[in-house]
Amino acid sequence: MKDGFDQNAPRKSWMGLLAKAPEGRAAALLDGAMARPSFTWLRAPEIGTTMVRARAGGTGTSFNLGEVTVTRCALTLEGGPVGHAYIRGRRKADAEAAALIDALMQTDRAGVLQAEVLDRLHAEAAAAKADRAGKAAATKVDFFTMVRGED
C-alpha cells in the first residue's frame, strides 16, 4: 500500500503547514483572502496534550520525546465539507481559522486559498527556515589537518 499514491497527501501537506504557522498568521491571511463563511462546530476548540515521539538520527528506535500542548477543533460548512485542525500551542482562534481553511480547501474556493494563504505560508516558512539555516551555517567551523603525521 505504501507504494501507491497517497490520496490524502495534499491535505496532509496543507494541514501540516497550518499546524506550524506562526500565531495569528493563518487567520490574518484567511481574512485577507475572503469573508469567513458560516459554519457549525462539530467539536469546539479544546486544548490538550499529545506525546511527541522521535528517533535519534532518524534511524534509531523511537522514544517518547515529551508532551506538547495541542489545540484541536472540527467544524462543518453548509453543504457538507468538514474541516479539522490540530495546532501546536494554546491558540483557539488559530485552530478555528485552520479548520475553516481545511474545510474551504475541499470546496471550489480552493484555488483562491491556495494562492492567497497556503502558498504565502509556505514561502514564509521556507524563508524562516533558510534564515535559520544561514545563521547556523555562519557558525560552522571546518576542521582539517594541515600536516598528517606520516613519515
Binding site: 457549525t40 462546530w41 462539530l42 467539536r43 469546539a44 479544546e46 472540527a74 462543518t76 457538507g80 468538514v82
Partner: protein, 188 residues
C-alpha cells in the same frame, strides 16, 4: 452526508453538559432505582439519547468499549471513535459494554473484577424499551426502604449481587431517561 452525521451530535457545551450528565449518572448509581433525565447528546439513530450522553461522559481513550448486537455498526463505531476516542474490544476485556439485554447475554463473558481490584469490572449500558419505577423490588445501600425498577429479569441480578464485592454494574437507558443498578443492590 454520512461523514457529518457521525461527526455531529456531541455536547454543544462540553464542560457544562458533561458535568450535568456525570451528576445524573452519579445520582443514579448512588440511589439505585431512581430515574434521571440525561440529555445533550445526539447519537446515531440506533442509540438512545441517554446512552449517547453516558458514553460521552464516561468513555475516553483508556476505556475499551464492547458493542453487542445491533449497536455494533459502522455508524456507532465512527461516532464513538470521533467523540470519545475509546477503543473497541471483545466482552472479556471491556470496561463498558453497550447493547440490548438480549444482545449482552451471556453475562459470564464480562469481567467482574478480581479480589484485589474489584473495580476492574465491566459497566453494562443496557438499552431497554421502557423504564419505569415499577416491577422488581430493590433494597440495599442508597435505598431508604425499598425501590422499584422495571428490570428485564431478576435472576441475573440476584446472581450478580451474590458475587459482591465483585460483579457488574448496570446502567439502564431508555430515550432520555436513565437508571442504574450497582452490584451492591439486592433484587427481589
Amino acid at each position: 452526508m454520512p461523514q457529518s452525521q457521525t461527526l455531529s451530535g456531541g455536547f454543544a457545551d462540553p464542560a457544562r453538559q458533561s458535568a450535568h450528565a456525570f451528576r445524573s449518572v452519579m445520582e443514579a448509581m448512588a440511589r439505585p432505582g431512581s430515574l434521571h433525565d440525561i440529555t445533550g447528546a445526539e447519537p446515531p439513530a440506533s442509540l438512545s439519547v441517554a446512552t449517547g450522553a453516558v458514553l460521552l461522559t464516561l468513555c475516553d481513550t483508556d476505556t475499551p468499549v464492547h458493542l453487542a448486537g445491533d449497536a455494533d455498526c459502522a455508524t456507532v463505531r465512527d461516532w464513538i471513535a470521533f467523540h470519545t476516542g475509546a477503543p473497541f474490544c471483545g466482552p472479556a476485556d471491556c470496561m463498558f459494554a453497550l447493547g440490548t439485554w438480549q444482545a449482552l447475554a451471556p453475562l459470564s463473558a464480562f469481567p467482574t473484577g478480581t479480589a484485589q481490584y474489584p473495580d476492574r469490572s465491566a459497566t453494562m449500558i443496557v438499552e431497554v424499551p421502557q423504564l419505569s419505577a415499577s416491577g422488581a423490588t430493590l433494597t440495599g445501600p442508597g435505598i431508604k426502604d425499598n425501590a422499584s425498577l422495571s428490570l428485564p429479569e431478576t435472576r441475573a441480578f440476584r446472581d450478580n449481587h451474590a458475587l459482591f464485592p465483585l460483579g457488574l454494574d448496570f446502567i439502564f437507558t431508555s430515550g432520555s431517561r436513565l437508571a442504574a443498578l450497582p452490584r451492591s443492590t439486592e433484587v427481589r
